[in-house]
Amino acid sequence: QWNEPRVCSRRYLKVDFADIGWNEWIISPKSFDAYYCAGACEFPMPKIVRPSNHATIQSIVRAVGIVPGIPEPCCVPDKMNSLGVLFLDENQNVVLKVYPNMSVETCACQ
């Protein structure tokens, strides 16, 4: 964790359903790689953080400093993946659902 880049990037996170108490009714998967985004979105932002046009302008306004109190853009998930979850419903029937946006593929300054 200590040698991760300062700039906005994807960080590793493995979510174990037992940690959040859902393992009783979730059959599979028991855990999955969810990842998360963290890091700075300071001016000037490198292309690697895929800033939106709005984020680029916001960081310039903040850097210039004429308008006080403007925060830097946020490092958030950009592209995300779905995850199939097999679980038991209230009637103990087996259900399969494909949930969108469950794990982070890329991060961006927005």
């Binding site: 859902w22 009714w25 097999l86 679980f87 419903d89 029937n93 259900v95 399969l96 494909v98």
Partner: protein, 334 residues
Amino acid sequence: SHTATAWPAPPSAADGLAEGKHPQRPSGDAAAALGPGAQDMVAVHMFRLYEKYSQRGARPGGGNTVRSFRARLEVVDQKASYFFNLTSMQDSEVILSATFHFYSEPWWPWAREALCKLSKNASCRLLPPGPLARHHLLFHSLSQNTASQGLLRGAITLAPPPRGLWQANDISPIVKAARRDGELLLSAQLTAGEKEPGVPRPSPHAPYILIYANDLAISEPNSVAVTLQRYDPFPAGDPEPLTAPNNSADPRVRRAAQASGPLQDNELPGLDEWPAPSHRPQHYHKHELWPSPFRALKPRPGRKDRRRKGQDLFMASSQVLNFDEKTMQKARRK
């Protein structure tokens, strides 16, 4: 009426037979993941759909949800009826298709031979081969707690499978019509032409229904918690978690300074020692009153100062926590 159509049925047990695999033993780590329920076919079927999606991204039935429904066997007028409770379907789930999976004895002699070998009892071979049973299934739908037999929704003729043991039949119109009328209890009554099939014993081969749906609410924010969170993380009656940013969640009892003598004003004793911040108006923020759980690093005083300071410190601390007279006398006596 609906005739049985070829439907992408799960690999039939007979295939398993042909390949020497035990028909009921799921492949891969299905058994491990499913636990004791691995013996019933519906769990194995669902796990295969899950593996297909996880490994190849193949969306089950083109949607994002598959619900399975196990049968509950009941005998009505000497006829076997399988009841399916479909009430766990959500309103936001649009039904794409529904299949009914039914297990019937094989009537090919070699398949029966293989079964007898599996069941390892010699008398099995002596039994005459099963009748060439042609099953009819009558589907009725009823709403919860109605006593009537319900509305006839459709019938299926099940020709005995030449090879496979499991058949999958399309019952989408039946399920869609029943749901449209709000009758989410479905019954499938087994009749077999001229000769009643008798009452089947409950077995892991019980029929089951799979409903393939597209959940329109799954892209809503927080949809995963709506379906997967079962208990409220803060059960009712629990005190609200302390929301002050630097409050520790430690349930320790807070000790307070005792006011020495009658209260002259509502200042806390000993507080006037705190230099009031010059740039801030004279009122106190809650988090300023409670020491932050993280101690700020202080420069280390010299050895002499430390000795003198120690006594001061003791005096200051004793000022904060002073005991009543009776405790003092007892301490002095001791």
